[in-house]
Point group: C2
Chain length 347, copies 2
Amino acid sequence: MASIKDVAAEAGVSVATVSRVLNDHPSVSVDARTRVLAAVEALGYRPNAVARSLRTDQTRTLGLVISDVMNPYFTELARSVEEEARALGYSVIFGNADERPDLQDHHVRTLLDRRIDGLLVSPTDGGSPLMLDAARAGTPMVFVDRWIPGVDVPVVRADGRPAVRDLVAHLHGLGHRRLAIIAGPAATTTGSERVEAFREALAEYGLPLPDAYIGQGDFQAESGRRATDAFLDLAEPPEVVFAADNLMALGALDAVRARGMRVPEDIALAAFDDIPWFVHTDPPVTAVAQPTGELGRAAVRALVDVIEGRPPQSVTLAAWLVVRRSCGEPAPATPPAEPSATNRSQP
Amino acid sequence: MASIKDVAAEAGVSVATVSRVLNDHPSVSVDARTRVLAAVEALGYRPNAVARSLRTDQTRTLGLVISDVMNPYFTELARSVEEEARALGYSVIFGNADERPDLQDHHVRTLLDRRIDGLLVSPTDGGSPLMLDAARAGTPMVFVDRWIPGVDVPVVRADGRPAVRDLVAHLHGLGHRRLAIIAGPAATTTGSERVEAFREALAEYGLPLPDAYIGQGDFQAESGRRATDAFLDLAEPPEVVFAADNLMALGALDAVRARGMRVPEDIALAAFDDIPWFVHTDPPVTAVAQPTGELGRAAVRALVDVIEGRPPQSVTLAAWLVVRRSCGEPAPATPPAEPSATNRSQP
DNA sequence: CCTCCTCGTGGAATCGATTACACGTCCATG
DNA sequence: CATGGACGTGTAATCGATTCCACGAGGAGG
């Protein structure tokens, strides 16, 4: 593969001049410029990003460590992150943590070794020493969706509280009183927050959230299946299961179907995270929708702000309830479109 | 960030010795080794992968240009690729082409500039000059799922022909005679092959495939919606729609539902690519399943073979039919598990 | 006509690693 | 006791870019 030296030789100039042409530095004569460009064309030369990065100490690359790519929510997040990054002139390297702290660390380490310019993380746990050190050492970093309390890193996320309150109101209105939740890992903010929001909303209606009605999941389908099975084995099973993410909702659906039971007649189901398939499931699933695309884009903008030395902004967007038929009662109208930002605050 | 020089200074040895310790070269004294390791620990030193890559001319990174991450089939492919690559000591950089040739080229170019060791591509089109040049120039490369005819690059894919034949047999057995297909772009092999397989299978039953029953899609949901609408507007609409991928099947479902019609009573539906959600759609969708995970792993193994100078192997695996209820008639039993490789051949 | 500035250019240092080569020690062998 | 090989180590070249500095040519101004 041709290097800058070959181009310089071909064009009859020094490597310095070639470099200047390539980075369109002002002081290059028209003559030199055309000769260099011709040589570049003739040799099919492409600058070596590795060498350039070594010299300039920047890779124009962002790292994204995602909790689980197979989760459609995170897939969409990843996609929007890549799009916005590309628009801003950055590439993205993804790492899939599969909800495993060890894998998460592996990816953070690899990304750091590659000298990415900044790191976008949706932490799977409370933060390994590695990640905490990186944050402390000043690696540009932004948390997206989930975050780690007590770490001074901007957070871009959606606040699901009001939507969860709407959901509980909806369920209560349908006459449901025994409501259960399949929670995510307590070590994740989304794992614990959703339970808290749910509990608080229940309290407003004077409803309890007994321990037996809190299934411990890990954001994966299999755990949704197990938790639902446990609920169904109870002497007094819940009337509604609220899954804290879409994969656990899928698992819940599996479990209900395996017993030959029906949603919502035998048990109602709701989920956090809305995905296109929920429109076509049997029955269509009532869900809390997040402005996923906007979340990804905002996270990239925040990270690039940090990288380029501008003051970073934490961003909190609103989530909203999309009522379908999985809790009883037919859906009334079309769900609203993604609303835009409602609230921005300094971290 | 500490460099190898700092470590050398801290340990009181030369950088050469540090490097030897890090790459566990045999001739280093125990004393030097322990001192270096201590220094590494003390400084929290991590080797700079950028510098290392420049010197060694290898990045231990694979590039994967995927047609569309939002398609669950490709998401799973991406996941398995990353897993196998990690097991073999490589990282993966993903590029999402979104079925757009220009984006595909953008990613190929970026990846090449980064000097990835090898490229895994599921081409969106017939091959841009850029990609063809790269292949010709000897960039280690493997096609996965889709390929470009006439290019000397190993291909890892599933053969859907027998499964499509099974599908047609199934449909014919249910009494369906007017069968339509929503095809992918003709420029992709999977786009044209699936139509061909369908046409041939129909011919075995003496059934025609009129042009009006070939909807032109682009593997995205919206095109499935449009094509289905067109079918439904026909004087004599088809009894079955076979979508060449799962997203177009989703679009078809949308279109049917929008007209207040029902699957399979008003029109039957089948899809290429099986995904977990198809079990829970209304109705569960009959689909051709691919050994996606094995495809991704085999592709990585083939690519690493090329990179490390071993003779590459093209791999063709079998796809299979999973009957559910979207074509009429209840599903009999559980679908079989992923079968393993059936056929390997030199490209 | 001399001086100074601007402009275009090239030489060479640099980024952080790897590695060929040379050198000194020490021990075993003849 | 001399010699040669093995071993551990350091020096320096190298990878492909960017960029500081110096230099020569040419034009403007005094």
